[in-house]
Amino acid sequence: MAITETSAAIPASGERQAVRPPNRLFRNISAKIALLPMILVAVGIFVGGTTWTIVYSFTDSGLLPRLDWAGLEQYERLWSQRRWIVSIQNLAIYGICSLVFTLVIGFVLAALLDRKIRFEDTFRTIFLYPFALSFIVTGLVWQWILNPNFGVQKIVRSLGFENFTFDPLYNADIVIYGLLIAGLWQGTGLIMCIMLAGLRGIDEDIWKAARVDGIPAWKTYIRIIIPMMKPVFVTALVLIASGIVKLYDLVVAQTSGGPGIASEVPAKYVYDKMFQGQNLGQGFAASTMMLVTVAIILIPWAFLQFGGRAKK
């Protein structure tokens, strides 16, 4: 039995030897077939699609993509648009505020929850639930709460402060902070969770040592814990930053870019030009600028994270 089996196997392997060249390619063939969808997505969509958009951002595509070379014309036009400048400014203000407040609030909440308190799970559940909701829901709720005729402004006025004004969604100067309130409400829970995981990873002995030395808790956090949590902070930073660049749904739901163009953001510019303005070239140029923004954030991070040891 065994002999017949091996003898049957020999010619088969002999055949495989005969067609030698593709041998390497066909090793682990099922694994390679199984990875085909992922490879297609990585190369076809992510690399291919990105390259396609960058190339076409140098053309004068209008209603349909055309390969008529136009050099930097789209970019020149883009940066001369007031709406684009406002979008970039908004993104910068929203981005910096969101980054700072999310990190601070996220860390403080995580530190409070880490003080061995009761009902920790309850508090954590409360802080994190907005993260499960979509930006559309978030935007619509806060639109309602910040409604000057019914919401916060009216309530404070009815308490006796007749001249109190707080109508961020109707005031072009502060509308971006109205978005910020909603964005923070939705996103801080996530960062808090990540910070909490980081705090839990810190050795209990460090706390004991600090207590023995009589260092107050707040000083321990600033001098010892935060420097130790640098990788966690960097991860949180990258997460927040890549989320900020994508900011779109929240604006559409909460303000639709208004009043006027006061709360426009780059992602909305791209969508409007591509799918409503029939000005594909502008859409491509604007989305390429968004990619550049992400690259500016990501490349230093990649160096920090992988630089030195990996060949990346």
Binding site: L35, V41, A42, F131, L239
Partner: protein, 313 residues
């Protein structure tokens, strides 16, 4: 049966028992109402109020009639509870010419969600398995590209995908949107499964290979039965992510196939007609209900999912 580790504290306690008679020892018990605790819990409670407020306002507003909303303030509980806004939001609210309420969007979302989740979780699990246990030359490179892709703004890839879907004849259909969700769910979920399967001992894998199991045999007989938790985590990420999506829904489908989020936005932000805030809030709450139920039902697994996706990424 008795665990020595469990016995140890009991022995220790018995050993210290006689000392109790000597008088109090150890640090004095902390008072529950110390200044530190008031600060701590006070801060947490105030912050909790800020986080809970919108949910409360949504519920309260959706249960009031319009006259009551115009007179009262948004925080006051309803004097007269009415479920009319909920009925209207679900079955009668108008978007454009269609007046069959959010139910249309809800069922569209369900029809998008189920195939998208099944497809993306299965493709991601198989990819993660192949990447962790069947590495070949170049597999890590493709994976790095996939992960980098997760950081590319979606806007960059929107139009190329429109062209691909048009070529495939899927543009504007639910099938096309399912494909898009598959594509963009792949990086995070593949990472999740890859990290999970990488922890499976190599010996187990080698033993199975010696016994003659192949790629699929090992996956189905060995990996699947031990990976329920990671499947649940991936499922949670995908269900909430796809349900909450707005951009892809609005770009890749037609108005009568819009998912719930897009329809919700169209109902609430429509410029015509009198604004019915109670109906709007009922509609908003309805849309948020699915992810909220998943969130509260899954508890710690949800946290684990985002922590796994974030910290390791």
């Amino acid at each position: 049966m008795t665990n020595p580790a469990q016995l140890a504290p009991a022995v220790a306690a018995a050993g210290t028992l006689p000392r109790l008679q000597d008088g109090p020892s150890g640090p004095p018990p902390r008072r529950a109402l110390s200044g530190r605790n008031i600060m701590l819990y006070g801060t947490l409670i105030v912050v909790s109020v800020y986080y809970l407020l919108p949910l409360y306002v949504m519920i309260v507003t959706s249960l009031k009639g319009m006259p009551e909303i115009r007179l009262g303030n948004i925080f006051s509980p309803p004097v007269e509870v009415t479920f009319q806004p909920w009925v209207k939001a679900w079955a009668e609210a108008c978007t454009g010419i269609n007046c069959d309420g959010l139910s249309r969007g809800f069922w569209n979302s369900v029809r998008i969600l189920i195939p998208s989740v099944i497809l993306s979780v299965s493709v991601a699990s198989v990819s993660g398995y192949a990447l962790s246990k069947w590495k070949f030359k170049g597999s890590e490179l493709f994976f790095s590209i996939l992960l980098l892709g997760a950081f590319i703004p979606y806007q960059v890839m929107l139009y190329p995908i429109v062209i691909i879907l048009r070529e495939l004849g899927l543009y504007g259909s639910l099938g096309g949107l399912v494909l898009v969700h598959l594509i963009f769910g792949l990086p995070i979920n593949t990472l999740l499964f890859r990290n999970y399967f990488a922890q499976v001992p190599e010996e187990l894998f080698k033993a199975a290979r010696v016994d003659g199991a192949g790629f699929w045999g090992i996956f189905i007989r060995i990996m699947l039965p031990m990976s329920l938790p990671i499947f649940v985590v991936s499922l949670i990420i995908q269900v909430t992510g796809i349900w909450n999506d707005f951009l892809f829904g609005v770009v890749y489908t037609k108005p009568d196939l819009y998912p719930m989020t897009v329809q919700l936005n169209n109902i609430v932000n429509s410029v015509q007609g009198v604004k019915e805030y109670n109906v709007n809030m009922a509609a908003t709450l309805l849309t948020g209900l699915v992810p909220l139920v998943i969130y509260f039902a899954s508890g710690k697994l949800f946290v684990r999912g985002i922590a796994a996706g974030a910290v390791k990424g």
